[in-house]
């Protein structure tokens, strides 16, 4: 049994494959994205992976299982500084994004995005990559991607209406729960028309 502080009770039973994070917010949403990514890899559409959580190992122990030498990590901590959740390749381009979900009718940049994550996404965008946030609003169960260039990073609170205006909605398909790559296509079209 693993204890997640601040973990919501209902998530504990729904999520079958927990992706161990210090903050468990967005865990089911992440699973949805992982499922989509597996589908894209299988269909040779895009190669996008969840970055492993950076962990600092403090102690290990060697042991043998059958004839195999193995290593058990018996002391480690989560490293604070990670970049973003996902990156990969789509249509030759570098793609990088952060996935978040919120129960509010606005998105709090300050509490959802670290300074180094903002910088990272801005750098990717400036270097010609695809950089965005994918945000799930739980109150209406709608998902939007929003280009980092369209995100007023100085504003702390971004209203839902702003996502309706500037974001691209992710619609659900039969084959796939969260087909976000269609929204990425629209984002690329928008970029090319600018």
């Amino acid at each position: 049994m693993i204890n997640y502080p601040n973990k919501k009770k209902d998530e504990e039973f729904i999520s079958t494959k927990p992706s161990f994070k210090t903050n468990s917010k967005g865990m089911i949403f992440e699973e949805e994205i992982n499922v989509a990514n597996s589908f894209y890899i299988r269909e040779d559409i895009a190669y996008i992976y969840k970055k492993p959580t950076p962990i600092k190992i403090l102690n290990t122990k060697a042991y043998t299982e059958g004839f195999q030498k193995k290593i058990l990590i018996n002391k480690a901590v989560f490293e604070k500084k990670s970049t973003t959740d996902y990156n990969g390749i789509y249509k030759g381009k570098y793609i990088d994004f952060e996935a978040k979900e919120t129960k509010y009718k606005s998105f709090n940049i300050k509490s959802n995005l670290h300074v180094h994550q903002k910088e990272h996404l801005k750098n990717v965008r400036r270097h010609g990559g695809i950089a965005f946030l994918i945000v799930k609003f739980l109150f209406c169960n709608r998902v939007f991607i929003i280009d980092i260039a369209d995100l007023e990073l100085e504003n702390s609170l971004i209203k839902f209406e702003y996502f309706l205006d500037k974001g691209i909605e992710v619609y659900q398909k039969r084959t796939l729960h969260l087909n976000y790559i269609d929204a990425v296509d629209q984002l690329l079209l928008k970029e090319n028309n600018e």
Copy 2:
């Protein structure tokens, strides 16, 4: 004190920031690449990161340090299936590579590259990304990058001469120990001329 099975004695004193891997081969070489990547980020040339080693957490314990809630991982194992060592963005393109060093005068593909890593690099290349191996030959202290498209993945043993012929040598600069991005530029030039 962390015990690395099979760890070479001299590495223990040279490497200041060990990157915890089950196989410690190539640890110093990886450090050289990390230093180069930090330089590229600082100079706004490329954004390339070492992927964290995927770890499967089996047990955690919550504790408090001062007023801060923290999590200690007290049971975890290395996950076998990782993709490659590094990825990121360079000149708008997705870049992905694996770093290896060898003491031999040939490079053993089979023992150095997992099947899924080969597949991953081939997929990246096919989708228009930059995908290569960066190999350090310890016997002569020379480093080469080799396009995944130029690597005969079916052959198990690739001779050093093949790297001299098809690879691009990484020369060392004063500002930087391992300036591999110059070699990547040559690789891109070669690609465009094909």
